[in-house]
Amino acid sequence: MQEPDLPLLDEAALAELAASVGGDMAFVTELVEAYLGDAPAQVAQIHAGADAGDAASVVRPAHTLKSSSATVGAQRLAATARRLELASRNEELPGAIDALEGLDAEWQATEAALRAWMAGTTG
């Protein structure tokens, strides 16, 4: 992990998001569900591109994962995705091999944290 200090899930970011939509928790939940539904495909695309040695095809899914992870407060995954985006953009993916290797586990931890958060908010 390159960013061990970052929280897996920044609940303050989620609270901010909720505040920005007038405290509509149903909407935030819907958003998190959308994120949980879409992120696995982005993770898979990153792996596929890296395995094929096609750095250019990693840039976009990494970028999307970075930005949507940041939105739902998944800070650690957002930082990893950002590293992957920059590395693939600069054709330096081999230098970010640890990020690639840790991606799946980080995604699973993020998913678990978000599901636990939702279970907590929806009661």
Binding site: A34, V59, R60, S68, A70
Partner: protein
């Protein structure tokens, strides 16, 4: 109430949801697109409805740059403001987007206050553009209406008056001037009786044929039609277009009208109407210009010459073309005439000497300007 329509273009559903939600909170209706291709489809389907585009840069299919380029190349959608949504660390791509024609940029994560400010600025710019466009459209429509009305008007006016309206000296001529003219007045003998007895369809049929005939002759001889009043038609020459040969033109027109009138009389006689044509021609000074009131103006001639032509026309027997003494002198040798003596005309204090124009001279002068007096002498 919707304050506008925004198109959110982002391949991330999460980002689209957040942005759409925030835009809706600002009172906007939101359309979404997952990539540039979809965005262009939506824009082209609603070129006038979409007020602002929020564009992500990194997308599959067609990215933000290509989308901007395609928008700017399309006349119908190039004016729609584009706000690039981008992380602060991607400032370089923002610069490129602005060079490609983006209006503004919105840093991620999105701050609602900044979003509101950017959206309001873009909507204001769009409204300004729309107003400008509306103004231009209205101008174009107005110009088209004026052009059409001018053409319509042309059908009511003689070609000379119609051209005068569009000319630079038009205003000066319309405001009034004095000039020598030849006035020609045509009317029908027996028309009042006919008008009282005939059915409206017949009346208008006869009038229509008569007016058509005179109208064609006026255009051919480049006369200025002053007005139609039932069977009375007043025309003059030498104004607004100057015609050195105005008397000759007037007489030739009168002869053409009389000649073409004969087949009509024959036809009418078969149907039981006895109608004859009387023409009076006078030469003299008149005041010419715009006469009337706002909404109904005529280009008219005022002066004794006009009254004289009208009175001569009334005095003329069927198929007579009566010309005043001054007119006779100005076309000497060109036409065969007979002296009809001095006429006592209604409203005239003194008797008026006049000639009846029988027709064109048997042989017209061979050299211009040289008039052969003997030609007249031979035929009188």
């Amino acid at each position: 109430m919707s304050t506008g329509i925004a198109l959110v273009v982002d391949d991330s559903r999460v980002n689209r949801l957040v942005l759409a939600r925030q835009l809706e909170a600002l009172g906007l209706d939101v359309l979404e697109a997952e990539n540039g291709i979809e965005a262009l489809e939506r824009l082209r389907a609603h070129p006038t409805e979409i007020d602002v585009v929020l564009l992500d840069v990194l997308m599959p299919e067609l990215d933000g740059y290509q989308t901007l380029e395609a928008m700017k190349a399309d006349e119908a959608i190039r004016h729609i403001p584009v706000i690039v949504v981008s992380a602060v660390e991607e400032l370089e791509s923002v610069v490129r987007c602005i060079e490609l024609g983006a209006t503004d940029y919105l840093p991620k994560p999105i701050d609602p206050a900044i979003l509101r400010a950017r959206i309001n600025a873009s909507l204001a710019a769009k409204r300004m553009h729309d107003l400008e466009q509306e103004y231009l459209d209205r101008q174009t429509a107005l110009t088209r209406t004026i052009q059409r009305q001018k053409e319509e008007l042309g059908r009511f006016l003689s070609p000379q008056i119609s051209a005068l309206i569009s000319s630079s000296e038009g205003e000066a001529l319309l405001s009034g001037h004095r000039r020598q003219i030849t006035a020609v007045f045509c009317d029908l003998r027996g028309f009042t009786t006919f008008a009282e007895q005939a059915e409206p369809e017949e009346l208008f049929g006869v009038l229509g044929a008569y007016h058509r005939l005179i109208g064609e002759a006026i255009v051919e001889h480049e006369g200025t039609l002053e007005h139609f009043a039932g069977d009375g038609v007043m025309t003059f020459f030498n104004d607004p277009v100057v015609q050195p040969d105005h008397v000759e033109r007037a007489v030739r027109m009168a002869l053409a009208v009389r000649e073409r009138f004969q087949p009509l009389t024959a036809d009418w006689r078969k149907r039981g109407y006895e109608l004859g044509l009387g023409i009076g021609i006078a030469v003299g000074y008149a005041t010419l210009g715009r006469i009337g009131f706002e909404g109904r103006y005529d280009y008219g001639a005022i002066g004794n010459v006009v009254i004289m032509a009208s009175r001569l026309s009334s005095a003329a027997g069927p198929n007579q073309v009566l010309l005043t003494q001054r007119g006779v002198a100005m076309v000497e040798g060109l036409f065969e005439m007979e002296d009809v003596g001095e006429l006592n005309l209604k409203g005239m204090t003194r008797p008026v000497p006049a000639h009846n124009v029988v027709g064109a001279a048997a042989h017209e002068p061979a050299v211009d300007g040289l008039r052969d007096d003997r030609a007249v002498a031979d035929h009188v």
